[in-house]
Structure formats: structure tokens, C-alpha cells
């Protein structure tokens, strides 16, 4: 990338981050609250996209990983009096461990069997949470002590902003490195990847573990924010929401899940009174997108932009060409 372009790019990102960081000073409590949930889903959608969009396995257990992180951190604090920060870190590690095991268990499965197996794992986990009432308080829900003494959502907003920036930064660097190419090679053709010296087992499990870790961190922090955990968050609806976000935004693209989380969570909040009907609406939107524009709205925007603003096309080409000139 040319230096001038790079400066523009960095300036643009810095400005966006600056605006995002400044939002809480002007916005209402409610707006900040919704923004926290958007950022939470930015992390979940981006980390699931890392697995399903860049590595291949179409896991249906991502929401369960977030819940696993949430319950683990909360139980560590409540039952073992572990400090919150340490609890979040331990929960993240354990979630990565569970992701690694699930990745290993589903290693040789074809797409449909992998989807079923990961769904079964999530459902089992939900039933365990419901059944283990003495520890998890089952469907009643587990009250989690908040991180801060105030009910103000703003500190959580900054925490989640920092977490999503860290997540996005890590994913950005990863997919532009040789390891990101390995992941995409595994996604496109495992047999070919193996025959060219890529250890596909290792990279698939790595994809599982890393995406679970990110979901675990997000889930653990979000638990402290919402202050009550319930097995409802492990219902398939929640996974469906993540999938819808990634598909509407653009699966296998970097900005897709960010945009998707913003659109879906934003609209969900706006049309709150419609309840479950909202999912129907998103379902229809996904079907329409799958039939017409499979690359999602990021690609759509990119094309419209290039069409109505010709210099953008040249810029896009140049960006693409220089992406991996590391």
C-alpha cells in the first residue's frame, strides 16, 4: 500500500474509533446500552466468521461457547470468590479448551454432520445448565455480581469497545498473515491443502479454539453486564441470530460481521415490540440474499460504491493488490 493511502486508511480508522469512543458522552443510557449489545455481537459474529467463513467448519455451537464463558466466569466469582478479571481470563481459556476438544471430535465430519454434532453439543450443554440447578440455578437464572458499583452502562461500553477492537485487530492481522492463508486453503480444499504440506488438522483445531476463546471472553464479560445468566441464551434462536448477522453482512469478509451485527442488532432493538417475528423478517432477508447476493451487504456496498464513484474502483483494485505485501 502506498504511504499516502496508508495514512488515509489509518486516519479513517482512528476517526471511527474516536467517534465510537466518544458516543457515551452524548448519547442516552438506552442508546449506550444497545450499543454494548451491538459490540457484544460484533465479537460473536466476527469470531464465528473466523471459523465458518475463513476456516470452513459451520459450527452451530458458538452461542454455547459464549454461554460457557459466561457461566464459567460467573461461577468462579460466585462459588470460588475468584476476582472478576481472573475469572474472565480463566473462563476464556477453558472455553478455548472446550472449543479445541469439539474441533477435534468433529475433525473428519462432513459439513452436515458437523453442524448436527455441534448443535447437539450446544443442546446438551443447555440441558446440563438446566439440570444442574443447585450450581447454576437452572432456568431460574444465575444472578451475577456486576463489575462496577454503578448501574451506568458506560464503563461496559468502553470495555466492549476495547474488546471488539482487539478482536477485530487480531482477526485482521491473522487473515492477512500466512496462517490466514492456511485457514482459507483448508476451507477451500482440505485434500489439496494437505497435499501441499499444510497440517489441516492443526489449523482446523486452531480455528475452533481461537473462535471459542473470543466467544468465551465476550460471553464472560457480557454476563457481568447483563447480571443474570439463563439457559435461554443457549437456545438455537441465539445461534440463528449470529448466523443471520454474518450472512447479511457477508460471510468470509472482514467487515461483514461488523456490519451485520450493527444492522441486525440495531433493527432488533428498534422493532423490539415485534418479538420473535423479527427473526422471521431476518430469515426472509437471508433467503433473499442467498438467492440474489450471496456475498452479503459488504460486497453490495463495495459494488455500488465502485459504480457511483469510479475512483473507488481503482482504489479497491489497488488495495486488493497490496493487501498481502507484508
Amino acid at each position: 500500500m502506498r504511504l499516502q493511502q496508508r495514512i488515509w486508511y489509518v486516519a479513517l480508522v482512528a476517526a471511527a474509533v474516536g467517534v465510537a469512543a466518544a458516543i457515551p458522552w452524548r448519547a442516552s443510557d438506552y442508546f449506550v446500552h444497545v450499543s454494548v449489545s451491538v459490540l457484544y455481537y460484533v465479537i460473536l459474529a466476527s469470531s464465528w466468521n473466523l471459523l465458518a467463513g475463513y476456516t470452513g467448519p459451520f459450527s452451530l455451537a458458538h452461542h454455547a461457547f459464549a454461554a460457557f464463558g459466561g457461566y464459567t466466569a460467573a461461577l468462579l466469582v460466585l462459588r470460588l470468590a475468584v476476582p472478576s478479571i481472573a475469572a474472565i481470563l480463566v473462563a476464556a481459556m477453558l472455553t478455548a479448551g472446550v472449543g479445541l476438544v469439539l474441533g477435534f471430535a468433529t475433525l473428519r465430519m462432513r459439513a452436515i454432520y458437523l453442524a448436527i454434532a455441534t448443535w447437539a453439543f450446544a443442546e446438551t450443554f443447555r440441558l446440563v445448565i438446566v439440570a444442574a440447578y443447585p450450581i447454576t440455578r437452572g432456568s431460574v437464572g444465575l444472578i451475577v455480581p456486576p463489575l462496577f458499583a454503578t448501574r451506568d452502562p458506560r464503563p461496559y461500553y468502553w470495555i466492549f469497545l476495547a474488546l471488539s477492537l482487539l478482536t477485530l485487530g487480531a482477526i485482521w492481522l491473522l487473515i492477512r498473515s500466512r496462517y490466514g492463508l492456511y485457514l482459507q486453503a483448508v476451507r477451500d480444499d482440505e485434500v489439496r491443502a494437505e497435499s501441499l504440506g499444510i497440517d489441516t488438522t492443526r489449523w482446523k483445531i486452531f480455528g475452533f479454539a481461537l473462535s471459542s476463546l473470543l466467544a468465551g471472553v465476550a460471553g464472560a464479560c457480557y454476563g457481568f453486564y447483563v447480571s443474570v445468566l439463563s439457559p435461554e441464551t443457549i437456545e438455537f434462536y441465539e445461534m440463528g441470530k449470529i448466523i443471520v448477522m454474518v450472512i447479511i453482512g457477508g460471510i468470509g469478509t472482514f467487515f461483514g460481521p461488523v456490519l451485520g451485527a450493527l444492522i441486525v442488532q440495531g433493527l432488533s432493538e428498534y422493532f423490539r415490540e415485534f418479538g420473535q417475528l423479527r427473526m422471521l423478517f431476518f430469515g426472509v432477508a437471508v433467503i433473499i440474499l442467498m438467492r440474489t447476493y450471496r456475498q452479503g451487504s459488504v460486497a453490495l456496498i463495495r459494488q455500488l460504491w465502485a459504480r457511483f464513484y469510479p475512483p473507488a474502483k481503482r482504489l479497491a483494485l489497488r488495495l486488493r493488490a497490496s493487501q498481502r505485501a507484508n
Binding site: L181, Q184, A185, D189, V191, R192, A193, E194, S195, L196
Partner: protein, 250 residues
């Protein structure tokens, strides 16, 4: 044990699919620095043999040695890193990655120590050689069948360390001009670095121009071995596979 002069040796290699014995008791020695042809009728077991040699599928029985080292049952990526690379009869590649990235990812995996510049230069040279310049930035799934075959070979050639190449019908659907370029490249790699090639082809012209020795398979077994002239005189081969066409060619 095997001698060090052999690149690949198999002992009684066998692979069954249910009741079907696709490769039966194959004991084969490919010399170091040899260009070896593998021919035989459809369903003879050629592709299955390559799958076994590259570790893509495990054998039911038997052993494989690469430069004297036993590689039976090793995962394909280890065998690849030990210097054995292959192409597939139906081209395999990374469809959503650009042609250039297809080459770069192979460069990363096969030559981890290379500088970025060296990798890029090698990739560009191969793109030029295979005349894929115009499509170099396109997702590989958009290539034509012949271009996919070329990309597959170019991807393997990203390694400068590979000592053995197994090519399954490498020229199917490839334009004669580019075919010549690749054949020259194979001869060049063979002469300059002593690289060993096993080439499966139904095109007798290719086999005749390139190979030193030929193995004929039929029904999963080796039915003849030798120079093309020798096997062309073999009655069994003529009866079971070549018919009379080979006499015209040789």
C-alpha cells in the same frame, strides 16, 4: 530394505474398496532422477496408486518408502514436506483464493524459510510461464478447466525442494503450446535438480517424449515394465490395453 538409489519403493502395496481390489500387491521401484510413466486402461488403479504413494488414502496392506524412509501411514502433509508433491486427475485448488494466493500459500507451506520477495518472484515467474497473467487476481474457481490444470502444476512447482512429483493426467485439456512449455519444464527440473517424476497419462506421445521407463497397470496389478519400446512388444500389454495404437506410435 531399500537401496538409497531409489526415490520410491513399494512392497506388496494393496488397497481394497469393499470387495474390489483397486491396487493389488504392487511392488515397484522408481529410481532417483527418473521420469517414470504410469499407464493402463481406465480403472486400472493408477490414481489409487498415486493416492497411496502420497498418503491421500492409507493402504490395506504393504509398505511405501521414500528415499529409503518408511512413509506408510504418514499424513499427506508430512509426506509433502518430505519432498513428495502431487497433482490430482480432477484439478484441486483453492477456489476462493486468487490464482496468485494459490501459489503463495503453497510457497509458504513448502518453503517456510523463504523471504517474501523470493516467494512473490517465484509465483510471478510461474504465472508468466503458465500464461495465467490475465487471471492472476481472479478467484481460482473462475478459471477454465485447462487453466485449473496449469494452476495445479504451477502450485507444485512453488517448491524448489521437492524431489518427487506425481502427476495424474497433467495435460488433460491443456493447449499443445503450453503442454510443450510444461514438458520442457519437467525435463529441465529433472536434468538440473535430478527431480523424479511419475506421470500418469493416456497420451502415448507424452509418455514417449518424456519418460525413461514405463509401468503398465491392469486390474490393479503391474502387468509390464520397461522402456516404451520394450512394453510395446509385450503381447500381454498389447492385448489388455494398448491395442495396436502403440505400434503405430513407437
Amino acid at each position: 530394505m531399500t537401496t538409497v538409489t531409489s526415490a520410491l519403493t513399494t512392497h506388496a502395496l494393496t488397497r481394497q474398496f469393499g470387495g474390489l481390489v483397486a491396487v493389488a500387491d504392487v511392488s515397484l521401484t522408481i529410481d532417483r532422477g527418473e521420469i517414470h510413466g504410469l499407464i493402463g486402461p481406465n480403472g486400472a488403479g493408477k490414481t489409487t496408486l498415486l493416492n497411496l504413494l502420497s498418503g491421500t488414502i492409507p493402504p490395506t496392506k504393504g509398505d511405501i518408502f521414500l528415499f529409503g524412509q518408511r512413509i506408510t501411514g504418514r499424513p499427506p502433509h508430512e509426506i509433502a514436506r518430505q519432498g513428495l508433491l502431487r497433482t490430482f486427475q480432477i484439478p484441486r485448488f483453492f477456489g476462493q483464493l486468487s490464482v496468485r494466493d494459490n501459489l503463495l500459500v503453497a510457497g509458504y507451506a513448502l518453503n517456510p524459510g523463504w523471504s517474501h520477495r523470493r516467494r512473490v518472484e517465484r509465483a510471478e515467474a510461474l504465472i508468466h510461464l503458465t500464461t495465467l497473467e490475465r487471471v492472476a487476481s481472479l478467484p481460482a474457481k473462475q478459471l477454465s478447466g485447462g487453466q485449473q490444470a496449469l494452476l495445479q502444476i504451477a502450485t507444485c512447482l512453488m517448491s524448489e525442494r521437492a524431489q518427487v512429483y506425481l502427476l495424474d493426467e497433467p495435460f488433460a485439456g491443456v493447449n499443445p503450446l503450453i503442454k510443450d512449455i510444461i514438458m520442457r519444464l519437467i525435463r529441465e527440473e529433472n536434468r538440473a535438480r535430478g527431480v523424479t517424476f511419475v506421470i500418469v497419462s493416456h497420451e502415448m506421445a507424452v509418455i514417449r517424449q518424456l519418460t525413461h521407463r514405463v509401468t503398465v497397470m491392469g486390474g490393479g496389478r503391474i502387468i509390464a515394465q520397461g522402456t516404451l519400446d520394450e512394453i510395446a512388444r509385450n503381447d500381454l500389454v498389447i492385448r489388455s490395453y494398448l491395442g495396436s495404437s502403440v505400434k503405430e506410435l513407437v
